[in-house]
Subunit: 446 residues, 2 copies
C-alpha cells in the first residue's frame, strides 16, 4: 500500500476502519504512542473491496480530519471463555445471557405488540450495547433501534444496524460531525432541545452532505432533558424546519423514572401525564399547521400504556431482553410481580473466601455490576443476601454452605449500567457457551 | 511466517502477544468470529527480536494452551482528544488528570514516607489501573505496586512493572496459571486465605516452573477475605511452607473500611485494632519458629498510623494520587478536612440541556462515574449540586447560569471505580493535553 493510502486510511472515521477489518482482505493499523508522538503503520495487501471502501473514505473526508488529529490505539481483548466451553470454564466475573430466555423475551415482545397494529417498536440498545442482540430484535419485528449515546450509535452502525434513533442530545460540532458521518451509512434521527444545538446539527449535516431526521424532546415529567410541552416545542420545530439538511420528524416523549413505579395503576396514571403533555405539544404544532405523525417513547415498564394511547406511534422498550432485580419489583394489575419477561442476564461470580458459619466472599463487586438500583440477587439462593464488599468483592450472608471455587449466578440490580462494565456477553444454551458477543457500544458515552 | 509460527503466536499468553506489539517489528492478529467459528491470521514479517519472543512463548506453552482455547478479538480504541489539544477539544465525558497536582501528590508521598525509614511504600494500582502512573510512583520511591485483580497485574507486567503484590485471592487453576505465567517476567506475590487455593497455586507455579511469593491474608477487622488472627494464620503459613514452588513471605493486614472513618482519632483507634490482630498473628507464627519479616497493609486514610506502628514493614496507599469527594471528607487531627494531597482527578462533562432557572443537565451519568460513595462535586461551583440523572445524565440544581455546551469539571465521589469506567486518562498541564494514557488494567477483574 502506498503511504498516501495509509494516510487516507488513518484519517478516516472509526466506522470505516472497522469496515476494513470486516472486509477480511487486508488490514492497516495506526498505532499512536502518546509518549513519543510516533506513529507506526502496519499494512497488508488490499483487495478490490478494500479499495472501494478506501474510495468511500476519501469522498467522506472532512477537511479537519487528517492523520494528526485522529488518535487511535489498538488493543487485544481476551474473551473469558471459548465457544463450546461448559459454564464451569468461564472465567469470572463474566456477563452471561441464557439464550433460551432471551429468545423467549424476543418472541413475547413480538406477540405483545401484535395487539397494537398501528404502533411500531424500536428496541433500545442502551440496555445491551451489543449489535448482535439488536439484530435479533430487528429480526423479531423491531423497526430499528434507539441509542442513548453516540458511541452506541457508532457501534450499531458498525454492527450492521441501519435505522437508529439517538434518543438524546448530541452536543458540540465535533460530535455532531461524527453523528452526521453515520448518516452516510444508516438512517439516523436525533433528539434536540435547544436552538444552538439545532444550528450546529444543521451545519454538521450540511458539511457532510447528509440529511438527519430530528425529533424535539419534550419534558413529559422526568425533569431531565426536553423542553416544556406546547409553545417551546413549536418554537424548536419551526427552527428545525428553517434550516437545511435536517428534517423535522416528530417528538420524543419518554419519562424514564415512571418505568420503575411499582403499582400498575400508578404507572398507568403516570403515563396519563406523559400523554397529556404529548397531546398539548401536538396541538401546539397543529395549530400552526405542522403535522406531527411520529411520537416515540415508553420503556419496558410502561410501553403497553403508550402503545394503547392512540397518540404514540412507536415505543422504545429495552430492558425486556434481559430484565433485572429492579424491574422484577414492578407489580402487574393483579398486584403480582410482573412475569411477562424472563430473567436472561446474569453476572457469573466465583466464591473466593469463606468464613464458615458467617459469610462467603464473591469475586464480583462494584466493577462487575452497578449498585445504583440496589444489590444483585443470588439466583437459586433466595435465603442468601448480597452486600456490597467494595470494588472487587461481594459479601454473602449467611455463607449458605458455599465453598471456595463455587460459581454463583447473580441477577443484576440494574441491567443497563451492569452490562456497561463488561466487554463481552457470553451466551449460554444447555450449560454450554454458544456465542461470545462484544459489547461494542459500551463506555461512558462519548 | 509459517503456519506453525502463527499457531504458536495465537496460542501464547496475552502478555506475549502484547510484547510482540511492542517489539515494533511485526504483528500477528488473531481474530475470531464467534458466529462462524472462523479464525483469520494476518501476519507481517518478524525480525530477530520477535523470533526470540516467539521462542520464549514456545517454552512457556502450557499443554492446555492451543489455538482453539485462546479466543481473542481486536478492537480499535479512539482517544477522546489529541496531544496538544486545549481542554475545550476533549470529547466528554472524559477522565482528566491535572499533572501538576498528580506530581505534587507523588512528591508529598515521598516526603511523608521519609519520616518512616524502616517502612517501604508499595502504591496500589487499583486506584488508577494505569501502568504509566505506576511507573511514576516507582520513580518517586515506591518499591513496587499492589494490584487487586489478575487483569490489573497482567496490565502492569505488560506496562513494565516488575514487582507486584496481588493483594487479593486468585481462585481456580486457570487463573492461577495466568498468575504463575506472570512470574516469568516479574516478581509476583499473592495473598491466600484457604488451603485448597494454596495447593492450586503451588500446582500452577510448579507447572510453569516458577516460584511465587505468598502472603497469608489476615482478617484484621474488615470481615471480608482473610482468616482470623492467630492459629488460622499459622496453619496456612505451615501449609505454604509444606508445598513446592511457593514461598511464605509474610502477612497482608489491610482493612479498607477504616480508611473512610472521618475523625483522625477514630481512624487511629481503628488502626490500633488492626495492629493488635496483626501482632497476635505474628506471635502465633513466632511461637512455632516461623519468622515473619514482611507485614503489609494500610491505605490513603491510615497509612501513617501503620507506618509508625513498628509492626508494619510496608504500606499500600493508592487513592492519594487522585483523591476524591469521599477522601476529602476525612478530617485531620485539627478537625480540618485533610489537605495532605491535592485533587488531581476529574470527569470532564458537557452541559447538554438547560431549563433556565431550574436545572442544567450534564452528559456524565452512571456510566461516567461511580455513585457508590456519593455523587460528584462540581469543581468551582460550590453552590451547585449534582443529582443522579441515570446512566448518561447528571442533573445540576440550580442551573447556575450554565449554558448548553459549557464544560463542567466533576470531582468523582470515589476515584477507583470511576477510573474503571474509562479507557483513557487524559493528562493536562496548563490547560493543554500533554498525554493520553490507557487504563489498561480496567475491567470487572477477571
Amino acid at each position: 500500500m502506498h503511504q498516501s493510502s495509509a494516510h487516507l486510511l488513518s484519517s478516516t472515521f472509526y466506522s470505516r476502519i472497522s469496515s476494513l477489518l470486516r472486509c477480511n482482505e487486508g488490514l492497516t493499523l495506526v498505532i499512536q504512542n502518546s509518549l513519543c508522538h510516533q506513529k507506526l503503520h502496519y499494512c497488508t495487501g488490499l483487495g478490490a473491496t478494500s479499495s472501494s471502501i478506501l474510495k468511500q473514505s476519501e469522498n467522506s473526508l472532512h477537511p479537519r480530519s487528517n492523520i494528526y488529529n485522529t488518535t487511535r490505539r489498538m488493543a487485544f481483548m481476551k474473551t473469558p471463555c471459548n465457544i463450546g466451553d461448559p459454564v464451569s470454564e468461564v472465567e469470572t466475573p463474566s456477563l452471561l445471557v441464557c439464550l433460551k430466555s432471551l429468545e423467549y423475551n424476543l418472541k413475547k415482545m413480538t406477540e405483545t405488540m401484535k395487539a397494537f397494529p398501528g404502533v411500531n417498536f424500536r428496541t433500545h440498545a442502551k440496555t445491551h450495547k451489543c449489535p448482535m442482540i439488536s439484530r435479533l430484535q430487528i429480526k423479531s419485528g423491531a423497526v430499528g433501534v434507539c441509542c442513548q449515546t453516540l458511541t452506541e450509535a457508532e457501534a450499531m452502525v458498525e454492527g450492521g444496524i441501519e435505522d437508529i434513533l439517538l434518543s438524546n442530545q448530541v452536543i458540540g460540532i465535533k460530535k455532531l460531525r461524527r453523528l452526521a458521518g453515520l448518516a452516510r451509512y444508516a438512517k439516523i434521527a436525533a433528539c434536540v432541545d435547544s436552538e444552538g444545538n439545532i444550528e450546529d446539527l444543521s451545519q454538521a449535516a450540511r458539511e457532510l452532505g447528509v440529511t438527519v431526521d430530528v425529533l424535539v424532546e419534550v419534558n413529559v415529567g422526568g425533569n431531565r432533558c426536553g423542553v416544556e410541552p406546547g409553545d417551546s416545542v413549536l418554537k424548536l420545530a419551526e427552527k428545525i424546519k428553517s434550516l437545511p439538511n435536517i428534517n423535522f420528524k416528530g417528538l420524543q416523549c419518554y419519562n424514564g423514572k415512571i418505568q420503575h413505579i411499582r403499582s400498575a395503576a400508578d404507572r398507568k396514571a403516570a403515563v396519563g401525564v406523559v400523554i397529556e403533555k404529548t397531546v398539548k405539544s401536538i396541538k401546539a404544532l397543529k395549530d400552526r399547521g405542522i403535522d406531527c405523525s411520529y411520537i416515540t417513547g415508553g420503556g419496558t415498564g410502561t410501553f403497553q400504556y403508550e402503545a394503547s394511547s392512540g397518540v404514540f406511534t412507536e415505543v422504545q422498550p429495552g430492558s425486556y431482553v434481559f430484565m433485572d432485580v429492579d424491574y422484577g419489583k414492578n407489580l402487574d394489575v393483579k398486584e403480582q410481580f410482573v412475569s411477562d419477561f424472563q430473567q436472561s442476564l446474569y453476572v457469573l461470580s466465583t466464591v473466593q473466601s469463606v468464613a464458615a458459619g458467617d459469610r462467603a466472599i464473591l469475586d464480583a463487586g462494584l466493577k462487575a455490576h452497578s449498585l445504583d438500583s440496589g444489590v444483585p440477587k443470588l439466583s437459586g439462593h433466595p435465603d442468601l443476601t448480597y452486600y456490597n464488599g467494595g470494588d472487587e468483592h461481594g459479601v454473602v450472608i449467611p455463607d449458605g454452605g458455599l465453598k471456595v471455587g463455587d460459581l454463583v449466578w447473580l441477577i443484576p440490580g440494574h441491567c443497563d449500567p451492569t452490562v456497561n462494565m463488561h466487554e463481552w456477553v457470553v451466551g449460554l444454551r444447555d450449560g454450554k457457551v454458544e456465542c461470545i458477543w462484544p459489547v461494542s457500544g459500551r463506555g461512558p458515552g462519548k
